[in-house]
Amino acid sequence: MTINLKVWKQKNAKTSGNLETYKVDHVSPDMSFLEMFDVLNEKLVQDNKEPIAFDHDCREGICGMCSMYINGQPHGPLEGVTTCQLHMRSFSDGDTIVVEPWRSAAFPVIKDLVVDRTAFDRIIASGGFVSVNTGNAQDANNLPIGKDKADMAFAAAACIGCGACVAACKNASAMLFVSAKVSQLALLPQGQPERESRALNMVAQMDAEGFGACTNTGACAAECPKEISLDNIARLNREFLGASISNQEV
């Protein structure tokens, strides 16, 4: 196949960027989308042109590093799939594909398709944990957790922190990301002691980072490569409201 690409090029956070056009020949349908970029970059090096910078690492859909906005959709056209697991068999010979970085004020561009997502780390640092030091734990089976709850907590914990939810949202809201962590820990007995302060602190940090508000359009869940459910946002709203009412000090 031959694929035409329009790719966002931007030298660094201080400069403005623009879309550049590339043509990639001999694309095999078995290639992953990122492998097509590898091929293109090798060719650019041969032609003495600087390769396109993009984030990627595990290439098996779990690390959350890859982050391309493909034809107007985070991680491209397939549901439940990261960019690294998208294969060229999803495209046709002669297609033109537009590739941009995540777009959000809270995720500034570092270079080309690479953005800074450290805001997510700071949100977790504000409360996305159980305060238990190493060495204090009781026997694991002393704390039975019903399978339904454990499964729901696991489904929320599957979030890979890639930021597609933010990129998909017209408000650049991080509610799906925050709600996944709040839900996981609110569903488990281990998370109960800090349940209220966690919801309040994480939401406060989310706002401080400049993420937008949630208007329930659901684009986040539709584009999430791990299919994190909108139910988590409903749960976060309940947690936050409950905590705001009962915890007047905060």
């Binding site: 041969q46 780390d121 694991a140 914990a157």
Partner: protein, 662 residues
């Protein structure tokens, strides 16, 4: 330099009491002094994140470094199947001793007894700790934790979270780390790569790190430095490692005097998705847990062109069950990999390339799960379609994400047709040599997790990597570092304008400038590919003297070419992945040479190291305990020059035998 004397510092006493006694007698650092002691942790995977969080909780001042954009993305995240622990929750006869025994035997009697027993002892605490953090392991309806089997064992001791166990464990450790970052007890440096160890008066006192966004070189002081930087499987170019996984931190330490042990011990994992073409950038693992329910087979007839589902039962060769009836599909990884290679080399392979075997779930899906579900639901005489439908539901819950991933990559549905799999490089047992304290031969420089060599001998058992990473970080280093730091309480933080920092930064800058100024014609990627091809063909699943000798010469030639014809585009003072990659490939090339030297030195077959000259008639590996029951620890003496030091291994608590899984 004085001659290095290897001292493993394993405590005296009976094996079951060593660690307990050690913990009661190791010197402590009082809380006030901890606050003035600084520790650098490089790498934020299971070992690094758990160590950094635990040390900060104790009161030390900690700095963490990772090359990814967040500590949560370290490659531990991709571990799938599970984590072992001697809990005996299944009442099937497990114990600390059995986990110890299985690990030593699985490692083909090339691991250190004292370390492995400690690992087995703390394994149960790891599960407790992770559950306390909110890690959502798989559970039964009664709320108790579930277990499954992994290779090389006859008990069920593997805890798991679907096929995403590494992710859940790492997110647990990451959240503990972020908690400390939030408190200001840890300062994290993401998108930073460690490029040099700084030594002062022979002790590790800091690092030089490159800010990968700005390109700036930074100096960081620490009373101790911990390398938790993972394995070096990417030396083969194609492996199941992440694209960024590299040996650079360990290699810089090696060149600063840390010995590198058993580099040739690499693990080839039997169940990976086969290579599809030249464009391939990495290989994807299909978890070993699948061997609980999948049966491996090839056609009995050579070059059989029929589709898998058209080949009748009696014309299938379930070669693992045939050769190893006692362990069947759950033999250790090295054995399963070699058996697959043997069948494919003999012409029985399947798929377009004929370099694949089938991993088939149909019979268990129908007979085990389908029938059990039908019985549960009271369906009498269920037809085949019903059994398949019911079985699918169970299999989906156990392995769903793996099946989806397989379909995504290959375009085939493994619920309908058998998976095609082939062995691929997955893990490296070798690594930086450490003593019982996890300290390298450079005082104050430690190495944890996959980056060290210590616990898995010549072959690692499945679900033991996560166990080792977390054991080292949560439960070992918090004690053992006290033995060193208790003597450092009078050492004030050394200002980074010290001559040693200036010199180290200068040398690092010169090396980077050299890489970017070669201005040749070939990309870092192309050199990496060529190195990988040499390593896979001549230092891969099977090795021999001729191939290894050739490989050494080829790698030396490749190195020369690299340093004269490399092309690195982009700027030195900005975000430049090409430059990052060039530095990593340069180190891989040097490591590749040492791996071949080590493989050539070891005139025996053991675990993942299979020398074709040393095999029994049936093709089983032939160990030479008389001459090679030692850890080969290599000292760097100059370009392409190494000196071998031997740490003799003594087995006082296990009877050494030929491994037998028949």
């Amino acid at each position: 330099m004085a001659t290095i004397k290897l001292d493993a510092k394993v405590p005296e006493g009976p094996i079951g009491e060593k660690w307990t006694k050690y913990k009661s007698s190791v010197p402590l650092v009082n809380p006030a002094n901890k606050r003035s002691l600084e520790i650098i942790v490089v790498g934020t995977g299971l070992a690094g994140a758990s160590a950094a969080a635990s040390l900060a909780e104790m009161g030390y001042k900690v700095k963490t470094f990772c090359f990814q954009d967040s500590p949560r993305r370290a490659h531990s995240i991709a571990a799938q199947g599970g984590i072992n622990a001697a809990k005996n929750y299944q009442n099937d006869g497990d114990s600390t001793y059995r986990l110890f025994y299985d690990t030593i035997k699985g490692g083909d009697y090339r691991a250190r007894e004292g370390n492995v027993h400690r690992l087995a002892e703390v394994s149960a605490n790891i599960i407790d700790q992770c559950v306390a953090q909110g890690v959502p392991f798989a559970r039964d309806y009664g709320g108790m934790l579930r277990n499954r089997s992994f290779g090389g064992t006859q008990v069920q001791r593997t805890f798991y979270a679907a096929g995403q166990t590494g992710q859940q464990l790492l997110l647990g450790a990451y959240s503990a780390l972020e908690r400390q970052i939030g408190k200001g007890s840890v300062i994290n440096y993401s998108r930073h790569e460690m490029l040099e160890v700084v030594k002062i008066d022979g002790k590790a006192r800091g690092i030089i790190a490159r800010n990968l966004i700005t390109g700036e070189l930074e100096r960081h002081f620490g009373h101790a430095v911990l390398l938790c930087t993972g394995g070096y499987g990417n030396v083969f170019y194609l492996s199941t490692n992440a694209m960024g996984s590299n040996v650079t931190a360990g290699w810089k330490a090696h060149k600063q005097g840390a010995l590198f042990a058993n580099p040739c011990f690499t693990q080839i994992h039997p169940t990976c998705i086969p290579v599809s073409g030249d464009h391939q950038s990495k290989l994807t693992l299909m978890s070993e847990s699948l061997r609980n329910d999948g049966r491996i087979w090839v056609p009995k007839q050579k070059d059989d062109k029929r589709a898998a589902n058209d080949i009748p039962e009696e014309e299938r060769d379930y070669y693992l069950e045939r050769r190893y009836p006692a362990f069947g599909n759950l033999v250790p990884r090295d054995i399963a990999s070699r058996a697959a290679k043997e069948r494919c080399d003999a012409g029985y392979g399947v798929g377009v390339t004929k370099m694949a075997v089938y991993l088939d779930f149909k019979s268990n899906l129908i007979n085990k799960y389908g029938r059990a579900q039908a019985t549960k639901l009271g369906i009498e005489n269920p037809d085949l379609d019903t059994l398949i439908r019911l079985g699918k539901e169970v299999v989906k819950e156990e392995y769903g994400n793996l099946f989806d991933m397989y379909k995504q990559i290959t375009g085939e549905d493994p619920y309908e047709v058998p998976m095609m799999i082939y062995p691929a490089v997955h893990y490296t047992m070798g690594g930086v040599w450490v003593d019982y304290n996890l300290m390298t031969t450079v005082p104050g420089l430690y190495c944890l997790g996959e980056a060290n060599f210590s616990d898995h001998g010549a072959n690692r058992l499945g679900a033991s990597a996560l166990m080792q990473g977390l054991s080292d970080g949560y439960f070992v280093i918090p004690y053992t570092i006290g033995a060193y730091l208790s003597a450092e309480i009078k050492t004030k933080a050394i200002p980074t304008d010290h001559e040693a920092f200036v010199e180290a930064e200068k040398a690092t800058r010169e090396r980077i400038e050299k890489l970017i100024n070669i201005k040749g014609k070939q990309s870092p990627e192309s050199f990496h590919k060529r190195l990988g091809k040499i390593m896979w063909e001549k230092c891969g699943m099977a090795r021999n003297e001729k191939g290894l000798t050739e490989a050494i010469a080829e790698i030396q030639a490749l190195k020369k070419e690299f340093w004269s014809d490399l092309r690195v585009l982009g700027d030195i003072d900005g975000f430049n992945p090409e430059l990052d990659k060039a530095g990593r490939v340069a180190d891989f090339i040097e490591l590749g040479e040492l791996m071949c030297i080590d493989a050539l030195n070891r005139n025996e077959s053991c675990g993942g190291h299979f020398r074709e000259e040393y095999q029994e008639d049936g093709g089983e590996a032939m160990r030479d305990d008389e001459n090679y029951m030692y850890v080969a620890a290599w000292e760097h003496k100059g370009e392409s020059q190494w000196e071998l030091h031997k740490e003799e291994l003594k087995y006082e608590n296990i009877k050494i035998a030929q491994r037998n899984y028949k």
